[in-house]
């Protein structure tokens, strides 16, 4: 089964990931979102960053979504190794070195991302955890990476967060008054 053959589907699933990422803004988390899609049909895990709320720097979107997908496997009495083999991770920003390693560990080796992650990226930006000529360099199988899907929207989403975090900005009186680039809700649905 080719899990990535339809470009229209790739955009559809990435917009779902962007929607999840957008929810992070409401709780003042870095808006990176992801969905795990099983057999190109069904979302079995969703996640956005929760590092501030949980005071835990490992709770990236991918970790949340993986845990949700594990729960789905348990409920549906399916073997996670087989499920992840037939699944694709759609994430708005390139997985970091930690998350890319985690994806190899859970056999979730198909990954589509929007924009690259220059600070921590594990799919080529800082290190290449996802693929290498020598599989002995890391646990599990090499990954199949598709990048640049809805890149502009992913960047715009991140920028809207950093506009709020600008230390030189005057403290906004209310949520509505914040100075940030206007997000068009239609772009995400």
């Amino acid at each position: 089964m080719n899990l990535l053959k339809s470009q229209a589907n790739q955009i559809k699933w990435m917009k779902e990931a962007l929607n999840v990422g957008k929810k992070a803004l409401d709780v003042k988390e870095v808006p990176v979102g992801c969905v795990i899609v099983y057999q190109d049909k069904e979302i079995i895990g969703r996640g956005h960053n929760l590092t501030n709320i949980l005071k835990n720097p490992t709770r990236h979107a991918e970790f949340q979504a993986i845990d949700e997908a594990f729960e789905w496997c348990r409920k549906n009495e399916k073997n996670w190794l087989n499920v992840f083999e037939q699944a694709v991770l759609y994430v708005t920003c390139e997985p970091c070195i930690m998350c890319a390693s985690a994806l190899r560990r859970v056999n979730l080796v198909n990954c589509v991302y929007g924009c690259s992650n220059e600070r921590f990226g594990g799919c080529g930006s800082v290190l290449n955890i996802s693929t290498s000529n020598n599989e002995e360099l890391n646990f599990g199988k090499n990954m199949t990476i598709t990048k640049g899907v809805c890149e502009d929207l992913a960047i715009k989403l991140l920028q809207s967060f950093y506009a709020c975090e600008n230390p030189f900005a005057v403290e906004p009186k209310s949520k509505e008054n914040r100075t940030k680039p206007e997000l068009n809700p239609n772009e995400f649905s």
Binding site: L54, K55, L137
Partner: protein, 342 residues
């Protein structure tokens, strides 16, 4: 803690070696061609340097411009890099002779050893000695007895806990400023493939911080707390106090700022990066692993393009310890990715 420490003789304490970035250990330098020449009249050196500055204003290296060759008592000067050399003015040609190419190292010179090789073999060089790095290189970094005993205590504690919990690896997070045990984590990858000891330890640090910040009565007990309470019942070890153990958490700090991690095994790439995200300060570990990312496959802790680095130390010659043989190296109980040395 002191009572437990005293059980170990100083001579029996574990020896540690730092895992340094390759650039501190490198002596196989990359070379680049420069143009050098002999100076006919040494009294004209300042004039030559001045004139060269005009011709090659962008020339800048760590090398001293001029060297004196003792054996034939002559002075030599670096003119510029070969690739940017475009001849000499007639004025300079008169005062210089024996123009020739010379290979010089382009690498940064970071250690005394590198400095000595370069100045002896290539050319005199300007160099600032980093005392901390030198102490790591010549093994003088750990001469404080109480510190050695402390490392021993913590690493043996996590070895004991790991064995007690019948796990394959474990991590202990400590605040060294006040010798407080923050949290522990043991490997539970059999129940969840991402449940590695480092990830679990970080989860537990965060649980503890949340508990402290909320000042909640919510019952949360770390494995290490339970273990200490059961094993060290004597009153003196009650100084391993857990209540109110975090004096004050600076909310602006990252989770593990200033903390030290003692771990039985070298972490994988996921765990090594999780420690970067948590801003751990130092890591001490014993066994190498097949996909280890602090020594075996990569030295992630000193990667130049990451915004945080941490120091890493590995135990030297620990394999002869009886605990190792019967548990951590044993086929039935060892870590599934343990790197077995031949």
């Amino acid at each position: 803690m002191s009572s437990v420490c005293k059980k170990i003789k100083l001579s029996e304490t574990i020896k540690w070696k730092p895992i340094l970035a390759d650039e501190y250990l490198n002596t196989n330098f990359q070379l680049k061609k420069f143009v050098i020449a002999d100076i006919k009249e040494p009294q004209k050196i300042s004039k030559i340097v001045h004139k060269l500055q005009e011709s090659y204003p962008n020339y800048h290296t760590k090398f001293k411009r001029i060297r004196k060759l003792d054996q034939d008592k002559k002075f030599q000067i670096i003119l510029c890099e070969k690739e940017s050399f475009s001849g000499l003015s007639s004025e300079l040609e008169e005062i210089l002779c024996n123009m020739t190419d010379k290979d010089l190292p382009v690498d940064d010179i970071l250690t005394r050893k590198q400095f000595e090789i370069v100045s002896k073999k290539y050319w005199p060089i300007n160099f600032h000695l980093n005392k901390h790095i030198e102490s790591l290189l010549d093994n003088s970094f750990m001469k404080n007895e109480s510190e050695m005993l402390k490392h021993d205590f913590y690493i043996r504690l996590i070895l004991d806990l790991t064995k007690f919990k019948k796990s394959n690896s474990g991590v202990l997070i400590v605040d060294p400023r006040s010798d407080i045990l923050i949290a522990s984590g043991i490997d539970q990858r059999n129940s969840h493939p991402l449940s590695h000891s480092v990830i679990n330890a970080i989860d537990n640090v965060s649980k503890r911080h949340i508990k402290e910040l909320k000042n909640s009565d919510e019952h949360y007990q770390d494995h290490i707390e339970e273990y200490i309470n059961s094993k060290y019942k004597d009153s003196q070890t009650q100084s391993l106090e857990f209540r109110n153990f975090i004096k004050k958490i600076n909310e602006k700090d990252y989770l593990c700022t200033n903390y030290v991690a003692y771990m039985t095994h070298e972490p994988c790439s996921m765990c090594a990066m999780a420690l970067i995200h948590s801003r751990i300060n130092k890591v001490y570990f014993i066994f190498n692993t097949k996909f280890g990312y602090l020594n075996t496959k990569c030295k992630l802790h000193c990667h130049a393009n990451l915004n945080h680095n941490y120091e890493v130390y590995q135990a030297v010659d620990f394999e002869s310890d009886s605990q190792c043989k019967f548990y951590f190296l044993n086929e039935d109980t060892r870590h599934p990715e343990l790197l077995i040395k031949n």
